[in-house]
């Protein structure tokens, strides 16, 4: 396992592909499959097989460290490859579709079926080439739930962003079409570079570093930008954490006397324009209850690398992909000083000794309180308390 892509190209987007039990709604047992996309349009099926834990009455620990042996890459190449770099992948279990968006604005969809042995089969169905990816946008896929539907129907909707034609276009994910979708947002306006759904509306960022908000109740073109990144910085990524457990706040006498982010927080990753590997990233936080971004950055040029991608969990934790420099973790949750979980840290610093390929594959951490949902960018409303952190040794033998 050297490069994820046999062509030596960059891996660009990931999505878990899990076989959900129809009665319980939870994914089947391991291995856990995921799809990766590359900058030249390849799609690969991969899997993770964890080491089974050894469980006693009081403890449960993995039988062995997580390493390259737990990951199988390039199990199969998904047929009929897209014609441009893979910008976004979204699995839609209700319809059994895997959606793939490319940097040129095309949308592809595949059927996902599950064999009796639990392995997925992904087959090309069709594509929509109606729209064009904006040159300075980032093509995105975002799923809206039925009751948050900007097109006014009772179905879920799939939002394709980063286009030249409009802020985005909406499709019905249950019945993909090769024809036109519903244009949404500003037309002939700066494209989106990031899109995120919040509690009551959609957030999107423009290339100039402006954050816009539109309520699900309807698009209002008269609304002004919510916020602009200071110092001419640009916005690279957005992520929403709903905070159902109200973990942010100040605790006194066992009570949260000053809960904050009661409707969740929107994380806004920024960097100077033309980011490079030496760029220092920043993170800003929008309080969704009043759509106000704090006066100070949560991370002020303290992230080692540009925050290319953020995912937030349900409990105000976030992970940030900084491209070549690694993965950054941080939290807004009330920090327990007894925890060995870092409050803000480069969780997995990448080795730059050989910039042509990844030099490690290892545990990120163990005992980390993260709760991510089954759909990318969809934190789930469950929670459990912060634990400690036990970093495992790096697998130096593995190069990706």
């Amino acid at each position: 396992m050297i490069d994820i892509d046999n062509n030596g190209s960059s891996a660009t987007a990931f999505e878990f592909l899990l076989n959900f039990d129809s009665s319980t709604g939870v994914p089947a047992s391991a291995p856990y499959y995921f799809v990766s996309g590359s900058a030249v349009g390849n799609l690969w099926l991969n899997s993770i097989t964890p080491s089974p834990p050894i469980t006693t009455s009081t403890t449960s620990t993995p039988a062995s460290d997580f390493s390259s042996t737990n990951v199988s890459t390039q199990i199969s190449e998904i047929g009929s490859q897209p014609d441009a770099g893979i910008a976004a992948i979204l699995y839609y279990p209700p319809g059994g579709y895997l959606y793939v968006a490319t940097t040129n604005g095309n949308l592809y969809w595949y059927s996902v079926t599950w064999g009796s042995d639990g392995t997925p089969s992904v087959d090309y169905i069709n594509e929509n080439k109606t729209y064009s990816g904006a040159s300075n946008g980032q093509v995105t896929l975002t799923l809206f739930q039925a009751n948050n539907n900007p097109i006014g129907s009772s179905t879920d909707c799939l939002f394709l962003g980063g286009l030249e034609e409009a802020t985005g276009v909406v499709f019905n994910p249950n019945s993909p079409t090769t024809g036109s979708g519903t244009l949404y947002g500003y037309t002939n306006a700066p494209p989106t570079v990031a899109v995120c759904r919040g509690l009551n509306g959609l957030y999107f960022a423009t290339p100039s570093g402006a954050l816009h908000y539109q309520p699900y109740s309807g698009f209002n073109s008269a609304l002004q930008a919510l916020w602009s990144a200071p110092n001419n910085e640009i916005i690279l990524s957005l992520a929403y954490s709903p905070n159902p457990n109200l973990v942010g706040g100040t605790y006194r006498l066992g009570k949260n006397v000053y809960p904050y982010y009661p409707d969740g927080a929107l994380f806004i990753g920024t960097s100077p324009s033309s980011p490079s590997t030496s760029t220092k990233g920043s993170m800003w936080v929008c309080d969704v209850a009043n759509n106000t971004v704090g006066d100070a950055a949560q991370q002020d040029a303290s992230i080692s690398g540009p925050p290319w991608g953020i995912i937030a969990d349900a409990n105000l934790n976030y992970l940030c992909s900084t491209g070549s420099t690694g993965v950054f973790i941080s939290t807004l949750a009330a920090y327990n000083p007894n925890s060995s979980l870092p409050e803000n840290s480069m969780l997995v610093p990448n080795s730059l000794s050989n910039p042509s390929k990844h030099q490690w594959l290892s545990d990120i951490v163990s005992a980390c309180a993260l709760v991510f949902g089954v759909v990318t960018d969809d934190p789930v409303a469950v929670g459990w308390a912060v634990g400690g952190i036990v970093a495992q040794s790096t697998d130096t033998a593995t190069g990706y």
């Binding site: 990766s36 009081t58 403890t59 449960s60 640009i234 605790y251 540009p306 290319w308 993965v327 990120i364």
Partner: protein, 54 residues
């Protein structure tokens, strides 16, 4: 003003397993310039209490 070096906002994803043997395990996949990183986080079996006062 361009984001041309690595313009892929979905370069990281994660899943927390809600039930079964790997309940509360989180798996993370993240991109690097020509590959990916895969990580595992598992719950502390003796978790501290977060809401424990000051």
């Amino acid at each position: 003003m361009s984001n041309t070096q690595f313009p892929y906002p979905q370069s990281i994803t994660a899943i927390t397993i809600p039930s079964g043997v790997y309940k509360n395990y989180t798996f993370v996949v993240s991109a690097y310039s020509s590959g990916m990183s895969v990580g595992q986080a598992q719950p502390n079996t003796a978790p501290l209490t977060m809401h424990s006062g000051e």
